[in-house]
Amino acid sequence: MHFDPQSNLVDVHISRLRQAIDRGAERPLIHTVRGSGYVLQEEEE
């Protein structure tokens, strides 16, 4: 059984992470993978 929030809880946290990590950076580290979630990597494929 998994824990299942229905609000945009994860999106909000990701956007905060993006603010903290990727703001102003040349290459963003946090990427959205459609249908799966988010990934932390240097280069987008």
């Binding site: 059984m1 998994h2 824990f3 299942d4 929030p5 229905q6 609000s7 945009n8 809880l9 909000v12 946290h13 905060r16 459609r34 249908g35």
Partner: protein, 475 residues
Amino acid sequence: MKEGRRWGLFNTSAFRMSMGYTFLVTLAVCVTLGSAYLLTQSIITGDVDLIIDTELRSLENQYVRSGIPGVTDEINLRIDSWGRIGAVYMLADPKFNRLAGNVTNWPFDGAPADPRPEFRIESIEPGQRSVHPVRASVRKLPNGDWLLVGTDMSQDRRYVRTFQIATLWGIGLSILAAGIAGFSFSFRLARRVSDVTDTCVRIMSGEQGHRLPVVGTSDEFDALAASVNRVLDRLEEQTRTLRATFDSVAHDLRAPLHRLRTRMDAVLRLPALESGIREPVESSLREVDRLQRTLATLLQIALAESGAPLASPAPVDVGELAEEMAELFEPVARERGLTLTAHADHGVVVEGNRQLLAQLITNLLENALKYVPSGGRIDVAVKRLADRADLIISDNGPGMPAQDRLRAGQPFARVGTRSGLEGSGLGLSLVSAIARLHRARLTLESNDPGLRAEVSLPLANAQVAAASLSRSMSA
């Protein structure tokens, strides 16, 4: 619990009924024996009075025939020879001086007012002195002399006293017997009824395999137990069928939904996708997501509602969990212009499933986030009581009308539906299912204004024991 049941005996209808019967039996015995006593007494005194009257009449006749000497002779004759046992005679002059008879002094002060006067005679028989009660009747003869005829009642009085003692013993013993019978009757009845109640409580708390005891006496209780057991069998079978159907439906839905989602996702990844197609596919994907979520929630509710006790309960610190959840949701709340605060007592441990409890807090928080307008506030609190932990999530939003609060725990009872607010209508039913699973009490009440959801969880046993220990130490 045990104590309560023992005192509970006095509170059973069986006990009240048997006490009522005891009282009726007592009353009946008292009336029967009491009237027998009174009747016997009146027969005895009636007999005595009849004899006295007969003798008086015959002595009066004697006076008419042969005057005072004749009466004197007759009295002496009766005393000496054929007088009945215990007979008392006296003939006295108008000044109550004795002329004849076996009484030495006139026993009354003048003429007695009572038609059946009673007095006592002290007699000195060889060996001992004794007092005899005498019932008498007095006539004034035409010449002014007084004639008294009486009967020694000591024999009858003894008889009456014996009867009295027997009556009292009879009443006492029958009250005792009826009381004992009533007590044991009601005790046995109450025990059988409480057996039934206990079993029902166990079945309600999830031990569905339990059945009422059939003793084999084939009395009305066995008949009741047998019918209730048949009902339970049928219910269990229906539940099993329903659950099997539900499970297979859910599983049959899950796989195709998942495939559907994967394919739609693949469509969205196509490089040459026309923009006119992308938009409807994306919104369909969101619908599929919603469907999957509803299905998952339904499965969770079904599992929680099945009444099966928690698979592997573990100690969960509710205070810590509540603070974590509040921290997790704080950014979401801030984004919506709400203030989310948490005040939790620490070290509040309950037995349960951490993930389910997190889901419960999540659903309550999301409910508040959904309904409370910008500028509002939400507060999460965990309070530790003697043997319970109260988890309270309150807000100052629009709240919920009373009738909605009552049915909010039922599946799909989405209250106050508003456009733009997404919801499966299952959030609070999952909350109430999880609460039930943790033997917790869920109450939704008005926060004036807003909603106050309170989940009262029983503390883990070790905690209760520790609390009572520390209380007794400090006392």
